[in-house]
């Protein structure tokens, strides 16, 4: 305990959850180490647009966005902030890092560890998704905010996510020429979930407002699209899909795909946290108590633990840091924590509603053509995964499908294909996706270079 009290608290991730956690620790007189893989704080959703781009996007005027960045600026001198620092493993009480891709010679010992690792896009592969011009939905937003680039001049936003509408609007706001929204979920599902989404009235209001504005601009929006395919010779040239019983084709030069978010869980697993299948979000996530305790001095907050959005992430970061402080023997205001939880839970309920409204296209995986590439890294197809999954005897396990097919074995370590591979394999075997367990994390969780040899290891 003495050791733990004298060894710093390390926070991984400088999005809203990590910043919220840091604020609570600083207020208690601690000086946490904040590791940020990015060049600047904010994470992905609250990424700051470079002023030199001169983009004036509405998201940067939101009070929540401004508050997080203002909060970070107040904390900057009171914490040990380390940008461009990837945490690539957790082992024996230390976090192992790499600065600008090169590994640090020693790990950082932590007294307590707060993981605020965030999420990436959850993607259901479609034929043609490896063509240049296809990006993840989050990627399409990053390229706009960070680089002032649209992913094409005629961009299709495809998938099942409220962010399809937000990203399409941001593209229009920034001057992109043409956008189209193709949503794989029916409109009726959104109506049905509206009461839950209204747990955070602003979310529902913003969503309806976005759809109304897109409609007023004459933007084509389709609900209930299936059998999507992207076509082109060396780059995106068009798409085809089924809608209301007919096949439609459309020329375009960019496609963004997103079906919600998937938690970045690798460090939690390496730190010894248990994982459980979340059926509403179709993925494995760390097991935590109501305060974000993941066991053995590890605390978790934000979208890396449960998909809740930026506001819930900041609240969860504050709650997890409060639990950490309480465990270190500090006095914590229980009423204040209860109020944080009440607000966090409202956001969680709203996100649960969004997850029901914008469901993962589970039925589509069984119908995905055999030739469709699932694993972008190793070019493994749906047919190859099906063949192996069907003949697998003994205990079904996606890690054996991986070993035999190489699906999910590449540099991204199944981040892009893993959830889809589980669905394809489960559908081929006729069993529930959760039965196949999860892809196991391996350190380093991302490719890093060993400085002495300048060779990449993966």
């Amino acid at each position: 305990m003495t050791d733990q009290n004298n060894t710093p608290v390390v926070i991984v991730g400088a999005g809203p959850a990590g910043i919220g956690a840091a604020a609570v620790l600083v207020a208690a007189g601690l000086r946490p180490i904040l590791l940020d893989e990015g060049r600047a704080p904010g994470g992905q959703g609250y990424r700051k647009s470079d002023p030199a781009l001169g983009l004036n996007l509405a998201y940067a005027q939101e009070p929540e966005y401004k508050a997080i960045h203002a909060l970070f600026e107040r904390l900057r001198d009171k914490i040990d902030y380390r940008p461009e620092t990837l945490a690539w493993s957790v082992d024996a009480g230390s976090v192992f890092t790499a600065f600008r891709g090169s590994v640090a010679s020693e790990g950082i010992p932590f007294g307590r560890l707060i993981l605020a690792t965030g999420a990436t896009d959850k993607v259901a592969p479609v034929p043609g998704w490896t063509l240049p011009g296809v990006y993840s939905l989050g990627g399409a937003q990053v390229l706009l905010k960070d680089q002032g680039c649209a992913i094409g001049q005629d961009v299709v936003f495809y998938g099942s996510s409220p962010l399809l509408y937000l990203a399409a609007w941001q593209y229009l706001e920034a001057g992109a020429l043409k956008v189209t929204v193709l949503d794989t979920t029916p409109f009726s599902a959104k109506m049905k979930a509206s009461a839950a989404i209204a747990s955070v009235p602003k979310l529902l209001r913003q969503g309806l407002g976005l759809i109304a504005r897109l409609r007023m601009r004459g933007i084509t929006m389709r609900h209930g699209v299936t059998d999507m395919a992207i076509h082109g010779d060396g780059r995106v040239e068009g798409i085809s899909y089924s809608w209301k019983g007919r096949r439609e084709t459309r020329a375009c030069d960019g496609v963004a795909i997103g079906h919600g978010l998937r938690s970045e869980i690798q460090l939690a697993e390496l730190a010894g946290c248990g994982l459980a299948y979340n059926a509403l979000f179709d993925q494995w996530q760390p097991v935590v108590d109501a305060d974000g305790r993941g066991g053995s001095g590890v605390y978790l907050a934000g979208d890396g633990t449960r998909i809740g959005g930026a506001v819930a992430a900041e609240l969860a970061g504050r709650i997890a840091a409060s639990a950490c402080l309480a465990d270190l023997g500090h006095a914590v205001d229980a009423a204040e924590v209860a109020e944080l939880k009440r607000r966090r839970d409202a956001h969680w309920r709203a996100q649960d509603g969004l997850a029901r409204a914008f469901a993962w296209p589970r039925k589509g995986f069984a119908e995905l053509p055999d030739a469709t590439v699932l694993c972008r890294c190793e070019n493994v197809t749906a047919g190859q995964v099906r063949g192996i999954a069907k003949t697998m005897t003994g205990i079904p396990d996606i890690n054996r499908v991986k070993a035999l097919s190489r699906c999910g074995m590449g540099r991204c370590q199944s981040r892009m294909c893993g959830l889809a591979a589980i669905e394809v394999a489960a559908a081929a075997r006729g069993e529930a996706p959760a039965n196949l367990t999860h892809y196991r994390a391996q350190p380093p969780i991302k490719p890093v270079a060993i400085p002495t040899s300048s060779q990449e290891v993966a």
Binding site: E37, Q44, D50, A52, L53, G54, L55, G101, T120, D121, T130, L131, P132, G133, V134, Y135, S136, G138, G139, A140, V142, L143, L144, D146, Q147, G148, C149, A150, I151, G152, Q153, A174, G175, A176, L177, G234, R235, V236, D253, G254, E264, R376, C377, E378, N379, G410, R411, C412, R415, M416, K446, P447, A449, S454, Q455, E456
Partner: protein
């Protein structure tokens, strides 16, 4: 499906002429720099990522090792690892998280043995 040398031959010199898939909506108010992709110059600005600089001028960053198909990145946030590109004489870098430097010479195919 083609092998790597066929793919290299087919793509040689075509990457820049074909035009980029990214569409620049604004130009960063920063110092102009020139980088080279497979020998062809690309104009960029300090602060641009290699992904943005290359894909707004060309239709590929790399070729997939398994089928020779062109790739242009995907997640743009350091997760998918589908935008690794060779810097001539140096190691590979991830294009979405690496910024342009004046005179940088990039190659969409391997330039260092063993990488």
């Amino acid at each position: 499906m083609m092998n790597r040398s066929q793919a290299q031959k087919q793509l040689q010199g075509k990457s820049v002429e074909a035009g980029g898939t990214l569409h620049r909506l604004c130009v960063r108010q920063s110092v102009p720099v020139t980088i080279y992709l497979d020998g062809s110059p690309i104009e960029a600005r300090t602060g641009d990522s290699l992904l943005a600089a290359v894909m707004s001028a060309a239709a590929r960053l790399r070729i997939n090792e398994f089928d020779g198909s062109p790739r242009g990145g995907f997640c743009a946030m350091g997760a998918c690892q589908d935008c690794w590109i060779w810097v001539e004489g140096r190691q590979r870098v991830r294009a979405c998280t690496t910024l342009v430097e004046e005179g940088m010479r990039l190659s969409t195919t391997a330039t260092v043995m063993g990488c």
